[in-house]
């Protein structure tokens, strides 16, 4: 399809996002061309570009035509007119026939490419000061005749315009750079799209053009550091692990805290099925007026809309990305060597009264193992993916395949993913379009066990705690791994890692089929049936050749399966109309979804051979169970967006949701939302303010909901398995009421959120600021509350009075800092300030959380007046110079330290603010991207350090204990070594939960640095390669933090209980830094 066309000079090309149709039916008599164009726009979504002067002298037309292509209609209309037209993308450019051609001049040709070296089709090339111009073809090439001393102007939607003086050149090649924020970009807003300029709520969009430029394994990783109001945490360094995402704080105590994901219109609760390389764009709906259209399904936590890549009409396109790299642990913790540990252990015993203790020298000199060196490795990672896309007049396709193989930095851990995606759109006729999106992947994951104490096989703590003088292999020579310090039943970290083969296979499918029917009166009906299917098969085998425990039982096997299947059927009707200065679009719809889950667990031991690891080989079975669950959600919703003259904007939505997961008497709830905006810069009185190119004020209010964590809180369940043998022989099955009573009145958790913000662009759009302030309050918090025991039950899920509030301010400032001389520099800074507080009614007992295994106490608390993620403990006032014990603060001055009166708030895991700073520098063929992110003001409870500095067990410790108190007079902050748990009367042991273990979690991190080189086409023009880019990426290479553990971002918890278990580090799999080399090829 030839796209070259002569254009009228444009400075601002506005494209309306519509469903484009190719078929037109017209029946008009004596109609002006303007009216005909309007009708065609209505039916096809094509827009027309012309000036009033052009239409002067045009004749009125009579036309009656049915189901004709747009070209044939236009041909009819233009038959006797002094005009011609051309179609560029979805815009019909109308111009006068070339009666006054510019005087013949030099012919100039050239090519327009983007910063990645990809050819750009449809770029407008005009001769400055004239109305003459052309558009580039599919290869980005153009040819134009120019007069002498001509200056060519290149422009394209979403890209910066460029002026180039031709001088005497016959060839002009131009690279266009994307504009950071374009007011005319279409932003996905949930069940539709809206121009950025018309948005009245808080929505962040993420540019994902760089996804392929670096090794991204998980979709959420793309969001990191890019969006204000969104905190992305990697709670574990395991390969393939899920990210934790908080949008505007944590809004629920027991319910979900993670955003809802909507992938190509299909509601999903995670992104497991998605290869991030296939993502086209991401919108994050943050406030209630944006997210409210998704009602109660969890939109309280924000909604992340993900759109995957689609084919584009025109030339077939192939893109291949490949990378390979190496990861390694960001740091190792300095531990005592054999000699230092022997001294410490002896001192521990002596201080606790056991003077006869010593460690034989032969043992101390036998080994000096640094278990971290044995457990962690340099780990390779490789990824490759290819996308094939294209389309004709009636349909488009995108087909992608991908592969990731990432070894973890801990030995044996590994993640593999094979993915495939197919997106098809087809226009069947004038009124019917159909499409599908199918994304499937298969993952294989070898896990190692972390987040636990050494004696419970947590390898991270075992690598820190196992004495360096312990042997790697059992001294009896049977080939099994040696023991950790704790027990002959627990292997050392090598045994933890190698002794258990824990492999999980996952099959993830996300897909939908949809149809779109165009109806009269500017209506369009869409029906979409989406499904998600996740299967996991986990096989765990403890090898009898490798650990003592497995040897005793001749191998231990577990097999767990789980399936989650969900369908969601959406039906929507949209109405989109512009009439004069009024523009209105309305959507109404319904949605129904049902999820089925089932799982089973089997276990056994006694395997005839360690090489046969399936459970059918086991001689004894210890577990055999299966479970099934289902839940449903049914919704009706509507939204209207209205704009007057592009200046006065309003939006209102309502969603009515019902779910089986609520009390059966309260299954339904309403979630309304409103917002309005005022484009001040379009007012006449503002026109004189030249340096402000755009200014919009926004405000909105709305309600969203959150589902309870429990699937059946309405019911008092009767627990099976309470069996009994009446005549002392035959067991008969019995049921007893569960200790949790059903609550048929349970309501949704409801969040009401007020949001106000402004968007301002100054200095000809070179500086853009978008800022929002919000107050978000979650009421009807669902808590499991103790019941009077006389009822026969212990607890019930109820809606608490009181609320959790998140109040915050966030902004993103993007700047086009420098351009010229082949150099450009753009930068964006976003910051998010959020303040969380829990307000519960007086008398509500605090909820203790954050159980610390090491000492069997709780370090976290949910208490009225404090934020979520609060730590609770004693205050460390330093080490007594005489005794070597810590002086804890006696808060009630009663002369003794006790848990009831002397514990206090000792820090919050929630940051005061988070930030992200992106920089993009281009120089000639080089691009440099730097992403810096960080948090400030949060605290971490370092339970790992409790195990490596408390000097109470016969285990290894960090070198920090070298400056411990040893004798009266020693002034230090490290107390004395003391074996066991005794404490002087009236006080508590030195290791007690206190400020001693609370550390600053603030950090500034160079998350990613990528250097690109775009090869000149003349080097690669062979074999039809249109672009070749090489890149080097460094991830997590530098971090500035005072935190003493592996990484300030790691967290023992993920998924459930996020709200009340934030900020605990307890032997979590460490984070990796990586170096990656890759290339992108376009055909």
């Amino acid at each position: 399809m030839k796209l070259t066309a002569i254009l009228v000079l444009t400075t601002c090309l506005q494209v309306s996002a519509k469903v484009y149709s190719q078929k037109v039916t017209l029946s008009l008599r004596n109609a002006s061309l303007g009216k005909v164009f309007g009708e065609i726009t209505k039916q096809t979504g094509y827009s027309f570009l012309y000036t009033d002067e052009v239409l002067e002298g045009a004749q009125k037309v009579d036309i009656k035509i049915t189901n004709a292509s747009i070209e044939s209609v236009l041909d009819r209309c233009f038959r006797d007119q002094p005009l011609t037209y051309s179609i560029v993308e979805h815009t019909v450019v109308v111009q006068r026939k070339q009666e006054n051609n510019a005087p013949p001049g030099t012919e100039v040709h050239g090519q327009v490419t983007d910063t990645a070296g990809r050819p750009m089709a449809g770029v407008t090339v005009t001769i400055a000061g004239t109305r003459k111009g052309v558009a580039t073809d599919a290869d980005g090439r153009f040819t134009i005749s120019v007069p002498e001393k001509a200056v060519l102007h290149f422009s394209s939607v979403g890209y910066e315009g460029v002026d180039v003086a031709v001088a005497d050149r016959a060839k002009v090649n131009v690279i266009l750079r994307p504009i950071a924020v374009s007011l005319n970009d279409m932003v996905f807003i949930g069940y539709g799209a809206q121009r950025r300029r018309d948005i009245t709520s808080a929505i962040s969009t993420i540019s994902v053009t760089d996804v392929s430029e670096r090794p991204v394994v998980s979709a959420a990783e793309i969001l990191a550091g890019k969006s204000p109001g969104t905190q992305i945490l990697l709670p574990s360094g395991k390969p393939g692990s899920d990210f934790t995402v908080f949008v505007r704080g944590i809004a629920s105590l027991t319910g979900n805290t993670q955003p809802l994901y909507v992938i190509d219109g299909v509601v999903s609760y995670d992104t497991h099925s998605l290869d991030p390389n296939t993502i086209q764009s991401i919108s994050i709906l943050k406030d209630a007026s944006a997210a409210g259209i998704y009602g109660a399904a969890g939109s309280t936590n924000g909604v992340v809309l993900i759109t995957t890549k689609k084919g584009v009409k025109g030339r077939a396109k192939v893109e291949v990305n490949a990378y390979t790299g190496s990861q390694q642990i960001t740091k190792k913790i300095k531990l005592l060597n054999s000699r230092q540990l022997a001294t410490l252990l002896t001192e521990e015993q002596v201080n606790s009264g056991n003077t006869g203790f010593s460690i034989p020298d032969s043992l101390v000199t036998a080994n000096n193992n640094n278990w971290q060196d044995l457990v962690y490795r340099k780990a390779p990672m490789t990824g490759i993916n290819a996308g094939f896309s294209g389309g004709g007049d009636k349909g488009t396709y995108y087909f992608g395949v991908g592969y990731v193989d990432q070894d973890g930095i801990a030995e044996t851990s590994n993640y593999k993913r094979y993915s495939v995606i197919l997106n098809l759109e087809q226009q069947m006729n004038d009124w019917l379009g159909v499409g599908t999106h199918i994304s499937y992947n298969r993952t294989g994951y070898n896990d190692v066990y972390d987040n636990n104490r050494a004696q419970y096989n947590g390898f991270v703590l075992s690598a820190l705690n196992t004495p360096p003088f312990s042997a790697i292999y059992n001294t009896n020579g049977d080939g099994t791994y040696g023991f950790s310090a704790f027990s002959q039943a627990v292997p050392n970290p090598m045994g933890d890692i190698y002794g258990t083969n824990n492999y999980t296979i996952g099959n993830n499918l996300l897909g939908d089929g949809h149809l779109v029917i165009k109806l009269p009166f500017a209506l369009s009906f869409r029906s979409q049936l989406g499904v998600t299917l996740e299967n996991t098969y986990q096989s765990i085998f403890q090898d009898p050749r490798l650990t003592e425990r497995a040897k005793q039982l001749a191998g231990i096997g577990n097999y767990n399966t789980a399936e989650g299947f969900r369908y969601i059927w959406d039906n929507t009707l949209t109405f989109d109309k512009q009439a004069g200065k009024h523009a209105i679009d309305v959507i109404v719809g319904s949605s129904a979804s049902k999820q089925h889950d089932q799982s089973s667990n089997q276990a056994g031991y006694g395997f005839p051979s360690p090489d046969v690891q399936v459970l059918s080989a086991a001689s004894t079975y210890t577990l055999n169970q299966s479970f099934a669950d289902a839940w449903t959600l049914e919704s009706y919703f509507g939204r209207a967006n209205y704009a007057y003259d592009g200046k006065y904007l309003a939006s209102a939505s309502i969603r009515w949701d019902g779910s089986s997961r609520l009390g059966i008497r309260n299954q339904w709830a309403n979630f309304p939302a409103f917002s309005a905006g005022w484009r001040v810069s379009d007012e006449d009185f503002f026109k004189s303010v030249h340096f402000v190119s755009d200014l919009k004020l926004r405000a909105g209010w709305g309600a969203t909901g959150n589902l309870p964590a429990d699937l059946y809180p309405s019911f008092t369940q009767l627990i099976a398995g309470n069996n009994y043998a009446f005549n002392d022989s035959t067991m008969v099955s019995g049921t007893v009421p569960s200790s949790q009573a059903g609550n048929p009145d349970l309501l949704w958790e409801e969040t009401k959120q007020f949001n106000t913000g402004l968007d301002i662009s100054v200095l000809n759009n070179r500086l853009n600021l978008s800022a929002d302030f919000y107050v978000k309050r979650t009421h009807d918090l669902i808590l499991s509350v103790p019941q009077p025991q006389s009822t026969g039950v212990s607890t019930k899920e109820v809606n608490m009075p009181g609320y959790v509030q998140n109040k915050g301010f966030e902004f993103i400032l993007s700047a086009d800092i420098f351009r010229g001389h082949g150099l450009s520099w753009t930068s964006a800074l976003n910051m998010s300030f959020n303040k969380n507080i829990v307000e519960l009614p007086a008398g509500t007992s605090p909820i203790l959380t954050g159980y610390i295994q090491d000492i069997g106490g709780n370090a976290g608390i949910v208490k009225s007046g404090l934020p979520l993620g609060s730590f609770w403990g004693y205050i460390d006032d330093g080490v007594n110079v005489q005794t070597g014990n810590i002086t804890f603060r006696d808060l009630n001055h009663d002369g003794k330290i006790d848990p009831d009166n002397d514990r206090a708030f000792i820090g919050s895991a929630l940051p005061k603010f988070t930030y992200g700073f992106t920089n993009q520098l281009s120089y000639k063929r080089f691009d440099l991207n730097i992403l810096i992110d960080g948090v400030y003001g949060n605290k971490i409870f370092d339970a790992t350090r409790m195990e490596t500095e408390d000097m109470t067990d016969m285990v290894n410790q960090t070198t920090a204990v070298l400056h411990r108190w040893k004798k009266p007079g020693d002034a230090t902050d490290m107390p004395k070594a003391y074996y066991g748990s005794a404490a002087p009367a009236g006080t508590v042991p030195n290791y007690s939960i206190s400020t001693r273990w609370v550390e600053s979690g603030s950090f500034l991190r160079f998350r990613q640095i990528t250097l690109d080189y775009n090869l000149d086409r003349k080097w690669i023009g062979i074999a039809g390669i249109s672009g070749l880019r090489l890149f080097i990426t460094l991830q997590n290479m530098f971090i500035i933090t005072k935190y003493k553990g592996y990484s300030p971002e790691l967290n023992v918890t993920s998924g459930a209980n996020l709200a009340t278990q934030e900020g605990f580090d307890h032997g979590t799999y460490p984070e990796a830094k990586s170096f990656t080399f890759g290339l992108n090829v376009s055909l």
Binding site: F521, F525, F575, T716, N722, Y724, F726, V736
Partner: protein
Amino acid sequence: MMRMQRRYCPFPTADLAPRLAPGLAACLALALALAGLSGCSKSFLNQTPQNTLTSGDFKSAADAEAAIVGCYSLMANSTYWYYNWNYLIDGDVRSDNNYSGGSAPDIDGVDNFTSVATDNQPISEDWYELYMDIGATNLILDDVPGITDPALTATRKAQILGEAKFLRAYHYSHLVRNYGPVVLQLHTITVDPNTLKSRSPVDSVYAQIIQDLKDAEAFLPVAYSDNADSHSRATQGAAEAVLAKVYAQTGDYRDCLTYCDKVLPPQYGGAGAAGYALLSNFDWLFDSQHKNSVESIFELQHTEGTPDHGYAQGLMLPPSVQAQYWVKFAPPTQDLVRAFKTAGDMVRYKSSITWEYNGPGSANPVASPTHYASTDTIPYVWKIGRNWPGGWSGGSGDNLVLLRLADIILLKAEALNVLGQTSDAIPLLNAIRARVDLPPTTAVSQTDVALAILNERRLELAFEGERWYDLLRFGAQYTIDLMNGQVDGKGVSLGYQVTASKLLYPIPQNDRDNNPNLSQNPGY
């Protein structure tokens, strides 16, 4: 400069409303149509748990059977303490039969009355678990009547309701004698959502217990077709036996006598048809070879190897049997040992108590319990759980006999004596003594016979959770004086500080936190 203009919409503003209207109207119409399309029937939102039944949703005979099985299973499940051990703390450790032993300060508190905190652990467990047991029976009483499954015959349905009523009354009889006024919870909270009830007076509680037992008596069979069930499930005889005990506890000995006679076979002057008889050998009651015997009226079934069963008994068994090297709980008192010896009652003594030296140099050295020296040979409870399967986490298969004929025979003797028919009481007492090779009692006067019966019950029913309540029936002041007069093996006072208010337990404070309408007993 050229002027750009967009011409999407040629319509004049004045035409707006009529032109938008059809579209908006169609939107609404279709929205309504869609409500029926993707929105489904009402049942779509009614998803019920698939892994469990739910309260209020009984449909089949099997649902009812499983639920009543659960009521018994809860009692035997040693996740819960009451019917495994705590009933013995309440009835024997609190009395002069056992010391607390072990290493639990809260049990010490129950034993020596010095400080019974309102968060005392076994007292809190009793309250919680008995109400949990009651909750399981309430479920049946609320839900089983509505079952229309023809497989559930009217007879069986009545039996199940009778079993539930029996069990509910039995649990309440334990509650009321320990706590005095208690909350009467007679429905599940699904049916009766008022969770903040006040305590009902003792009279009302007993009235409810008696009503439940009389209903149970009417509904329950004398025996089940499988005779073994006739001792493990609630029967008419069991309901009548508990009625007799409950009437006695309220002081209504006339009704007590009536119900004793309904239980007792003709040879003891009764009209009972269940065929209960004393076993010829006392030890057969506890040797696990004669489970569900003719003497047993209601017996809790334990299954060996079921980790949930019989765990708690291991805490009392001698270390040579249950080899966990901690201080064992609930050793018999020197006073009880003396009582056996004074009575010359070697048969019951040997069945009830076993001695073991666990001091220095022994095979299983453990620290000695309070009131015994490390060099002493220690008496251990030997009536329950003695067939220990080995290891420490196993669980004994020995059943627990909760109600047996000897108790009712002695209760009848007690009733007759209180009612002035002392001469009729003496043969019953002697029948019990004869079985264990003891001569007839020498007591003649009503007062002496009363003391003889009290002592006979002590020796016959030691470690069966009865002693404390026997004492209370005998008299509050008698109990106080007796307990405060307790001495150890060397004759030194144990320093118990029993007062009238300590005859009842405190209401657990944590439940008073849950229910502000729950009053506390005086003295706490």
